[in-house]
């Protein structure tokens, strides 16, 4: 069964460092998403991406965040200068073009900022 894969599964970084989280969406999907979950809190929407541009973003997704689809398979989330409060589980998801509303999620990348 096709699945969304994310790397790394866990990353520890120092405050102020840049981090790139990588995702390989399901191959025939065209919509891509990043969500995050701070420990003990809700899963929160960050951004959606379609046709090489951002479709929608939340107020969490400020200038320190960026997304990119550098090639035909990867979808990345970059955090330019990490803060302690960026520590969270980051989930990548993808969906097909049909409006089914169904997202397929990866297993998540846990980011710990020290």
């Amino acid at each position: 069964e096709p699945e969304v894969t994310q790397t790394p599964s866990h990353q520890v970084t120092q405050m102020g460092q840049e981090v790139i989280l990588r995702c390989v969406p399901i191959s025939n999907h065209l919509y891509f998403y990043w969500y995050r979950q701070i420990l003990g809190q809700k899963v929160e929407f960050l951004v959606s991406f379609y046709n090489n541009e951002i479709s929608e973003k939340s107020e969490i997704f400020d200038d320190q965040f960026s997304v990119e689809r550098p090639d035909g398979s990867n979808f990345t989330l970059k955090i330019r200068s990490t803060k302690l409060e960026d520590s969270a589980m980051y989930f990548c998801a993808s969906s097909a073009t049909a409006n089914t509303g169904e997202l397929f999620f990866g297993e998540g990348s846990r980011l710990t900022v020290l």
């Binding site: 969304v4 065209l30 998801a93 073009t97 999620f105 998540g108």
Partner: protein, 114 residues
């Protein structure tokens, strides 16, 4: 404001007993409702969804959910719980349109006792 409330943070159920997880939502437009499950070390997996029509929807793994517009609720049920159902369950609301954000609840952790 758009929101999803899952009143129960943690529920313990005996194996073989019935289960009901509560979900209430507040959403300005026609709500499309989802239940996702996250097993340890896994990504979020869609259990079931409600878009329109019959208010009782069936999902995978023997789960069902009932949409009650008058109560703004979408409770998840299972008649007989198995030990493998121990996981975290998330209710979410959104639109059917690809590329738009899902709003998640905080989740309910289900433990199953033998």
């Amino acid at each position: 404001a758009q929101s999803v409330t899952q009143p129960d943070i943690h529920i313990t159920v005996s194996e073989g007993a019935s289960l009901e997880l509560r979900c209430n939502y507040s959403y300005g437009a026609t709500p499309y409702l989802f239940w996702y499950v996250q097993s340890p070390g896994q990504g979020l997996q869609l259990l079931l969804k409600y878009f329109s029509g019959d208010t009782l929807v069936q999902g995978i793994k023997g789960f069902e959910a009932e949409f009650k517009r008058s109560q703004s609720s979408f409770n998840l049920r299972k008649p007989s719980v198995h030990w493998s159902d121990a996981a975290e369950y998330f209710c979410a609301v959104g639109t059917i349109q690809a590329g738009t954000a899902l709003i998640f609840g905080k989740g309910t952790t289900l433990s199953v006792s033998s």
